[in-house]
Point group: C2
Chain length 209, copies 2
């Protein structure tokens, strides 16, 4: 299904508009993220991509095929994030994880918002995506335990779920953030305050016992 990429990328310069495929992927990803899969029509995707509807069938077979390709790419991006996390070790690992995640989020905002929508609609790939992310969190918890940074008597499974929830949280709230807080959840100031608060919480909490 990626034959078109094989003929376009390694070979010579642009034919007359060979970018329809990628344009459809980007347009579809954004629209699925914004309005959901069911609420988005193929005509709207094609219009946003600036191509004809028939092209969806040409490249992906169907609307569902387009979604599968989109999810393949998002899954690949999460895998890349995952491999990046595993190189961080030591006391400041959490900060690096957060920094990496924030940097990834800034770079791949659309992928994250698609991920959000996929989790909400339970698409074919969403369970895979969730498992990947949970894997990252488990890896992080395990890493900290091995290095002795985990406090005693911690439920490691729930610690992983906790980290997952707090990674996804801002994405879940993002569509409401502008109206509720006056700025995006990924605005620099919000990220900074969140990072500070989360660092505090995971090491000391915020309530007296």
């Amino acid at each position: 299904m990626s034959k078109s990429r094989l003929t376009s990328e390694p070979k010579n310069p642009p034919r007359a508009r060979r970018d329809g495929r990628q344009r459809l992927i980007l347009a579809g990803r954004r629209l699925f993220a914004e309005k959901g899969y069911s609420a988005t029509g193929v005509r709207e995707i094609a219009a946003r991509a600036g191509v004809s509807i028939g092209l969806i069938r040409t490249h992906f077979g169907s609307k569902a095929g387009l979604r599968e390709e989109i999810e393949r790419q998002v899954i690949a991006q999460i895998e890349e994030l995952c491999s990046r996390v595993s190189v961080h070790l030591g006391a400041e690992a959490l900060e690096h994880l957060v920094e990496d995640a924030v940097e990834w989020v800034e770079r791949e905002r659309d992928a994250l918002l698609y991920l959000r929508s996929a989790l909400m609609e339970k698409t074919p790939g969403s369970q895979v995506l969730l498992r990947q992310l949970l894997g990252i969190m488990r890896q992080f918890v395990e890493m900290n335990r091995e290095r002795g940074f985990l406090q005693d008597d911690i439920d490691e499974e729930w610690a992983s779920i906790f980290l997952l929830i707090d990674f996804l949280g801002p994405a879940v709230l993002e569509p409401f953030s502008e109206e509720e807080f006056g700025k995006s959840m990924y605005h620099r100031e919000m990220v900074k305050r969140r990072s500070a608060f989360m660092n505090r919480v995971v090491t000391r909490g915020f309530l007296k016992s």
Copy 2:
């Protein structure tokens, strides 16, 4: 729009099948929660409710009208939860909040799962729902500050957002929970472990500083 309730509830016993309205609300709420608003057709709602499609128009004017009525009821339920929270004071306030929330979730599972879907699709009432929940969390944080249970130098706004995220988290993960963890996020054991972990985190964290 609630004229039917005014004539049915205060007045005398059942006419011939006067329950179509409530059946539609329950069926719609469950289907919207399970598959999303756009992916659910009026015929499917009517079939699940065991009534004819025309009845949606009779009672709610349109599919969107049905959703509005569903959201009105969910909003009312959150308000009830909200008023319940405000009576809890003292050191064990968080536990009571969690207990109350858990009890509410068990009783109104469908309402919570509808709330989840509303947040994902950004329905007309979802911003209201989010603001309500955030209000509960702010109330809780403020209460703890007044009683001196808040640690020093806490970003109270982010503490509220944190609580909101960790309240919604299990609902967000619920559709994947069975496959990922073998049981519902609201299974008794999961709730117990989560409650224990969260209590630990908010008071002491889980990582060494």
